[in-house]
Amino acid sequence: MSTMTTNQNSTSGNLTPPVRKRNSLAKGKLPKWAIWAIAAGSIIIGAAASTLTGFNVASFAIYSAIIFLVAASVITTVAEGKRRGKNAMWTYLIYAAFIVAVIPLVSVLYTVLEKGMPGMNSHFLFSSMNGVTGAVDNETVANGTPVVGGAYHAVMGTLLITLWATLISVPVGMLTAVYLVEYGQGKALSKAITFFVDVMTGIPSIVAGLFAAAFFGMILGPNARMGIVAAVALSVLMIPTVVRSTEEMLKIVPNELREASYALGVRRWRTILKVVIPTAISGIASGVTLAIARVIGETAPILVTAGIASNINLNVFANWMSTLPTFIYYQILTPTSPTNIDPSVQRAWAAALLLILMVMALNLLARLVASIFAPKKGR
């Protein structure tokens, strides 16, 4: 009875057919071109609104986006109903979130390429900052000659420190993962290790640096700064990443493989070394590569452990060392010549380009390694 009344009410209040109005599935739908029309309209209005307040690209984009969002949601709500209107609004918001997230990525990559390319040459790659002083930079600017000085010392420092950090982290990290998956299942110690590895992933990089500095400071006296201290600091950051990725990979090795090996009378340690790890090696290798990519760009721990150097130092066990990240940092924050900062800025961006290329190469390598070493699918 009550449905009848509402039906009559809506009929009397509306000219549109009541039955279609009540059924959301049969409701009208906007034609496909409508959304493009709304987009075009909001761009035009956005441009107009932006011109009123003094045109610039940022305000134009923001105004257009807001107008489009509001208009598209309202029009969809009117034409297709409240629920679809809400759906449309959130859909466009989520698309917007993605676009907003990509802007900084594009901006960073563009900036690094644009400002890094001019300084990227063989002189930059194969010479150090030894002997390059503010006076040298002032002269370069005054005479308009090419920038002197490069990042060779920093590249070597980066490679050596990262190499040592990898040498420390990979055995420790892999053995820990083996313990967690193969020996420690269900034990309290293994639970504690898992928990603290998780906690360790959250250690701020500068604290890891301070730890290494404090540790070696107590052994070798204060201000003991050299490559190996930095390598230890980086290991603290790298080990948890290695443990986590290796652990994940070992876990997905099918138990049937282990059992088959045990059934043949093979010892546990040989089963692990010859069956389990080879099966998982692709994932482990790519995880290690990603861990290297993560620590190679660390700045803060190097800053407090390896100091800063302008000459080439290939010995990680003595004297200060520079790495690419600290080189960039100091070239920007304390330019070689405080009056003519351009050469320093150019060197910094060229080093940034080099560093990004290294990191990207490592990331690609990780993917490549994963596909090359992947276990054969069979058949």
Partner: protein
């Protein structure tokens, strides 16, 4: 004297191998626990002079607490700005990649966002210093002019743009990929049957997400945000390069404020004696804060796991 093949010499050596190998694995695991413990102990020992020193000798002259308090607040403010910006965008991007983007492009787009995580922090710092900060100056002037009555946007705005808000935005960019990649993983794990059931009942895509995906993923999202918080609290380079430091002030668009990590990075290279101990003590405080945040994050995940059945 015929020995059983199963108990022959090679087998005994195998047993030794077993012991050595399992011992090594155990040692590696214990080493990690010791390391974490050592981090705390060594920082504490080296920081000790700060707590024993005469308050007048500490930077600022009023004791360690008065020294550390403003930069702890600064650290929290920077991280809060970063999370306020990065959380909605990060979850939106994760939803976009998992549920909205066409299947074919979703994978490459996810990789694109992961690239954000691969860029070293010092490059973000350099970008913030040279590109973002100058670009934001007009925005800050607008804020100071129109919203200046709110203490947060009190003018006059910084002319270099090197302010707390800029540092927060750079941090947000750095935290975003963490939140995105973790929540994307969780969103993709939503049971397909739940999603299809919601759609079959006539739900729109957004209703399907609010009724099937979000409830399933909530603990995952919380942990992703907490891990992002941990990163934002401890991030050094972005703040050290982008923020032009000063005393603690409420305005986000003026020069001022400082974070623990940046304070250490900027002063450590020249520090010695008591100042060194002071900075290590600051590092200890940062370590404890991030430790607590991470432990809470892990706790939340562990608790929700039991109820949600998500593993």
């Amino acid at each position: 004297m015929t020995t059983n093949a199963l108990t022959s010499k090679s087998s005994t050596s195998g047993r030794a191998g077993d012991k050595v190998f399992s011992g090594a694995a155990l040692a590696a695991g214990v080493l990690i626990l010791i390391t974490l413990f050592a981090v705390a102990v060594f920082l504490l020992i080296q920081a000790l002079p700060t707590f024993l020193a005469d308050p007048a000798e500490i930077s600022g002259g009023e004791g360690f607490f008065a020294y550390i308090w403003p930069i702890v607040i600064g650290t929290v403010i920077a991280a809060a700005i970063a999370l306020l910006i990065a959380t909605p965008i990060g979850i939106g991007v994760a939803l976009f990649i998992s549920h909205f983007a066409p299947r074919k492009v979703a994978g490459p787009l996810g990789y694109l966002i992961d690239l954000l995580a691969a860029i070293p922090s010092v490059i973000y710092g350099a970008w913030g210093y040279m590109v973002l900060a100058p670009a934001l100056v007009p925005g800050y002037e607008w804020l100071a002019k129109n919203l200046g009555f709110i203490p947060l946007f009190e003018g006059p705005a910084s002319q270099t743009g090197k302010t707390m808000l800029t540092a927060g935005i750079v941090l947000a960019v750095m935290v975003l990929p963490i939140i995105t990649s973790l929540s994307r993983e969780i969103f993709l794990q939503t049971p397909k049957l739940h999603e299809e059931a919601a759609l079959a009942l006539g739900a729109t895509r957004w209703e399907m997400i609010t009724t099937a995906v979000i409830p399933f993923a909530r603990p995952g999202i919380i942990s992703a945000v907490m891990l992002g918080l941990g990163r934002a609290l401890g991030e050094t380079m972005a703040v050290a390069l982008v923020l032009s430091t000063g005393n603690l002030i409420p305005s986000l668009i003026k020069t001022g404020n400082q974070t623990i990590a940046a304070e250490i990075a900027l002063n450590f290279p020249e520090a010695f004696g008591l100042r060194l101990a002071e900075l290590i003590a600051a590092g200890l405080v940062l370590f404890l804060i991030t430790l607590v945040v991470n432990m809470i994050a892990r706790g939340i995940i562990a608790r929700h796991k039991e109820f949600s059945g998500a593993n």
